[in-house]
Amino acid sequence: MKKFIDILIKLGSVDRRYIFVLVGLSVLIPLIWPINIPIRATQQSQNVFNAIEGLAPNSKVLVSFEYGPSTKPEIHPMSLALLRQLFENGLKVYATALWPDGLFMSADAFGTMESEYDLEYGVDYVNLGFRPGNEAVVKGIAADIPTLYTTDTRGIQITAIPMMKGIHDVKDFDFVFSLSAGYPGTKEWVQYACDPHNVPMSTGCTSIQVTEVIPYVEHGQVKGILAGMPGAAEYEKLVNHPGLATGMMAAQSFAHLVIVAFIIFGNITYFVQRKRDQKK
């Protein structure tokens, strides 16, 4: 028993680089040899889906891209799944970006959509692009869009875009969706646009933001939430179009198992070591 405890303590003080390698392998192996794991939509993802499904055809949906390449693996799959649902339901999509990188993420997402659906720019969707100013931009969208956006990402005058006719402020939209990876993001949409003007909104955000946004979701200020990569995978299942996130879920799950095992192991060795020190 003493020998076993010695080994346990020795393993507890193993070089952190071995742990990095093991976590890395737990991610890499399921990506090289994919494993299908069952995905079941949570109630929050289902609420997002239901909220969008409840919109009448030709409803106007403002989609805000607030993420960049660093958070692309989490948010981009949900962007694609969401846009598929929006276009399949015949909704009008108005895109904006609070992050400079969001501009390119939206261009990438619309490029994919154009290859899948017969879309006409300015009629089915418009990309208003990025404006710096963080919450001031959200406030600007809530108050006066034509002053904030004079041209879209293609340099077309806003007044010349057919689907921009009758769009003055956030109240002219039927729904707002924030694809958010931090500040400015979902929180700012709730605080400066959707709460004050009673516009329904929903969000797809990074895992790290979930605890920050969930109080709004619980109170109904935000209609459901897509939480990180699992949220994206669930939404891909809901829109019946398995994609990137679904394929990555096995790696995510294995990595979690390894990390949980290390946490348990680390705690056991910590308590064993402490007990031994107390005896001394």
């Binding site: 989490e74 004050p196 895992s207 109170h219």
Partner: protein
């Protein structure tokens, strides 16, 4: 054939492996990747900010391309004389005839222009104090704007949300009671005007447990997020290891391991010599 996509893929692999190499030790590859990232980000943001905001929304409002037939006087000619001078410096930013997008000159936009110039005065130490005016405006504006947002959505709405719903079923009722207890005990923990002893101490301890659960949830989500990012990078490394990218991942990984080995070996030799 060398294409932009191929070059981008190799560069992406190099930067990814360079950053990941920090897990071994702080090394020249990591430093190079870090500096490239900071430099490119600064340049990219500056460019995006200029072409999406400063040029169309600030200069565009100060010197718009006015509709034909607009009456022009002495002031107009003087004002657009400045514009023509700026046009000599940068015809891309100040195109001939004015900037498209607005129908009238908005002189009020001179205020943000002046505040912006004040901000840059930090580069000249003697008049660097002027930047404080711009910072004061930003802080004041942000404080006012945020106060309203937080008061409405985070304070008022969340107080409403923490009410116990007595008309709900057992689980809803239990959930409401837990939220009220957690909120009150959590707030008590941060009340430092009274010593945390007796009943007050016990309640604040309950508050600590609620806070720990909350931090645990945040930590769990943070780990999940970081793993997702790792998956994203690995996915790209796997993609770029293919023949169409000339096995970029394998080549760069091999070269980096070899160079890191040499770097570590020579570094150790130098340390040994220095110690001797």
């Amino acid at each position: 054939m060398l294409t932009a996509e191929l070059l981008g893929a190799w560069f992406s692999v190099f930067l990814t492996l360079g950053i990941l190499s920090y897990l071994y030790d702080d090394n020249p590859f990591y430093k190079a990747a870090e500096h490239i990232f900071v430099g490119v980000s600064a340049g990219y943001w500056a460019s995006i900010y200029y072409w999406t905001q400063v040029q169309p929304n600030l200069f565009g409002r100060l010197w718009p391309a006015l509709p034909e037939g607009t009456k022009t006087g002495f002031f107009h000619q003087l004002w657009y004389g400045i514009y023509h001078f700026l046009g000599y410096i940068s015809s891309g930013s100040f195109p001939e005839g004015g900037i498209q997008g607005h129908a009238e000159i908005r002189m009020i936009y001179l205020i943000p222009l002046i505040l912006g110039i004040f901000m840059l005065m930090r580069l000249i130490p003697k008049i660097g104090w002027l930047a404080r005016w711009a910072i004061a405006y930003i802080v004041g504006m942000a404080a006012g704007l945020r106060f309203y947002g937080f008061l409405n959505s985070d304070v008022m709405e969340q107080i409403k949300a923490s009410n116990i719903n007595f008309s709900g079923n057992g689980i809803v009722l239990l959930n409401g009671i837990i939220i009220v207890i957690g909120t009150l005990c959590g707030l008590l923990y941060f009340f430092f005007s009274k010593e945390h002893t007796g009943v007050f101490g016990k309640l604040s301890k309950v508050g600590i447990y609620f806070l720990m659960i909350s931090f645990g949830a945040s930590f769990g989500f943070a780990v999940m997020g970081r793993i997702s990012l790792l998956i994203g990078r690995f996915n790209d490394l796997i993609e770029y290891s293919g023949h169409e990218f000339h096995n970029a991942t394998f080549w760069l990984l091999g070269i980096m391991i070899l160079l890191l080995f040499i770097w570590a070996f020579t570094g150790k030799n130098k340390q040994d010599k220095a110690a001797a």
